[in-house]
């Protein structure tokens, strides 16, 4: 089937609702990359992220009649993907160990390999430790460039709550950076962005 890029998501949704199953194929092509990327940020494993993506699209298809078009199709799909990823994480948590143990393990590992770890890995670890809602707000804002209105739609919460979650996430990151003296010293050697983050947080909230 040839891709029709002029048709909007909403029009495609209406076609699918009226029985044209193949129009859903175009929706998948349009959004599978962003859904996979978003899922990967939560589950950290490509195979699981693929599962989450697949599951999110199937759920979206099944529940298409509940999509009212208040938010964009992408926001609605992201909402399903975030919820699916959260359920996967809960399953893992139930099946394996307590989340606190996971964090301790990460801390210990981070301590021994700190010097050799890339800045992005440290950041990733710190983001990983954030509460789910704060992490979601941060991920959607920073990495997906979504507006707070869209984030509120996805997180199913008021606009101000979405914004507060994002701000708290940034503040927590700052606190963590300030507390880790090794990290501070190391960033002074490395310089660049990480130092910038440290300074900016201190200045912005201090």
């Amino acid at each position: 089937m040839e891709r029709d890029l002029n048709v909007t998501d909403l029009e495609l949704v209406e076609k699918v609702k009226s029985g044209d199953r193949r129009s859903f194929s175009e929706l998948v092509k349009r959004h599978q990359r962003s859904v996979l990327r978003l899922s990967l940020r939560f589950v950290k494993d490509m195979d699981t992220a693929e599962d989450v993506t697949q599951e999110a699209f199937i759920k979206a298809y099944e529940k298409l009649n509940t999509f009212e078009g208040r938010a964009s199709f992408k926001s609605w799909l992201f909402q399903i993907a975030v919820n699916t990823a959260r359920n996967k994480l809960r399953e893992w948590k139930r099946d394996t160990v307590d989340i606190d143990d996971v964090q301790l393990a990460v801390d210990a590992e981070a301590e021994t390999t700190l010097v050799h770890t890339a800045v992005s890995d440290i950041l990733k670890n710190e983001v990983e430790k954030l509460p789910f809602k704060q992490k979601t707000a941060l991920v959607l804002r920073v990495y997906e460039d979504l507006s707070f209105n869209e984030i509120a739609d996805i997180m199913e919460c008021p606009y101000d709550t979405a914004k507060a979650n994002y701000r708290h996430a940034l503040m927590k990151l700052r606190q963590t950076f300030e507390q880790q003296s090794e990290l501070k010293n190391w960033t002074e050697e490395v310089g660049g962005f990480f130092l910038e983050v440290n300074q900016r947080f201190a200045e912005a909230e201090g």
């Binding site: 996979l36 990327r37 699209f57 099944e62 529940k63 920073v142 912005a204």
Partner: protein, 159 residues
């Protein structure tokens, strides 16, 4: 520190976090073609669920909270305020009436008529019909008026 400056710095942090992002997605089209086919194969086996006849209260709350929460809470606050104020207002009203501070003018007219009956025909107001007025005066007269005074009033108005 002003808000604009803070927002500017927060934005820089955001951009910095993004620039340090090293998340890598498979870039080849084959991967995504395969993923697409997997999804569509599942879709072929799946049916769209019918639209719910009634939204659950939870869904309704989620979908419409922005639309109705503020107006409803505003109207509810007005009702609460009114229900609190009405008894107070009526209590004050009663007290003032009892103290003679509040009157619709009716009692004053009657008492003036009793004090100076000869002037009543000039001061009779238009908001009250003559027969009503006579009824009021008659009612008062049974309690307070002497027969002479009563006859005087009746004679004055009867002219």
């Amino acid at each position: 520190m002003d808000k604009v400056d803070r927002m500017d710095r927060m934005d820089k942090v955001r951009k910095g976090l993004k620039s340090a992002d090293d998340l890598e997605l498979p870039m080849n089209d084959d991967f995504f073609d395969r993923l697409h086919d997997k999804i569509m194969a599942e879709v072929e086996q799946t049916e769209i669920q019918p639209a719910p006849m009634l939204m659950t209260p939870r869904n309704m709350l989620r979908s419409h909270w922005r639309g109705w929460l503020y107006p409803v809470s505003g109207v509810a606050s007005l009702f609460v305020l009114a229900s609190l104020l009405i008894p107070q207002v009526s209590k004050v009203n009663q007290t003032m009436t009892r103290a003679g501070l509040l009157s619709d003018g009716h009692e004053r007219i009657v008492s003036e008529a009793l004090l100076s009956p000869e002037e009543i025909s000039q001061t009779l107001i238009s908001t009250q019909s003559e027969s009503d007025f006579f009824m009021d005066v008659a009612r008062e007269s049974f309690e307070n008026l002497s027969v002479d005074k009563f006859n005087k009033i009746m004679g004055e108005s009867g002219r």
